[in-house]
Symmetry: C2
Subunit: 107 residues, 2 copies
DNA sequence: TTGTGACTAAGAGTCCGTC
DNA sequence: CGACGGACTCTTAGTCACA
């Protein structure tokens, strides 16, 4: 049945998979920066009085993706942030106007 | 394989492999926004007088990753942008202070 | 000290459908 | 209209060896 019985053979290069996870970031009030971003997007979208679907269409994104961002479940890329800001008619800076701090451990 | 076959060998149209068809974005001068970001990172890093390696270490990133961003080859995520801004001791807004416009199609 | 190609795991982003 | 989930493809995160 099992075959692994002989030779040392292949031990697939132990190329470091993903050992280190970067220190997490949080907002000043201990929240998730993604959630803060979501609130900003929601607020700005409401200001334009358009639906998620409409914003998604304008920005060339998927409707469910915009939904996910507003709920703080997504971590969009630089290019997507720019695209969003553009369609929301705001300066990209507004989307990242988030006060953050280091570790979540203790302080 | 069940699947009534007779017709053209049309392979069951399995999925719609949408290869990301997002409309491209460019800076006002027709450049790549990622390159603009890279310049900003470079400038700010120089201001601190530190090496890519040093910045990478502080931000918990890999040296070659920082290198890639400065050369405009990477499209970092929101969280990476935040982490970078924090270590560069600048407001995240500075990293996205980029004037952009739509597509390169025709104008 | 930095550039670059190659690589794997994870997640970004899309599309379907349901509530 | 929007939340949410599944399944999917392509890109990014993150690392290394070597130029």
């Amino acid at each position: 049945m099992s075959k692994s019985a002989n030779g040392p053979t292949r031990q697939k290069a132990p190329r470091k998979p993903r050992p280190s996870i970067q220190p997490p970031l949080e907002t000043q009030d201990g929240g998730d920066p993604r959630a803060a971003l979501g609130e900003i997007i929601y607020t700005e979208r409401m200001r334009l009085g358009i639906s998620q679907e409409e914003l998604a269409a304008r920005a060339g994104l998927d409707r469910t993706y915009v939904s996910g961002m507003e709920r703080g479940l997504r971590n969009p890329t630089f290019l997507v942030l720019l695209r969003l800001a553009r369609e929301l008619a705001i300066d990209p800076a507004i989307l990242v106007r988030i006060e953050i701090r280091k570790a979540p451990t203790n302080l």
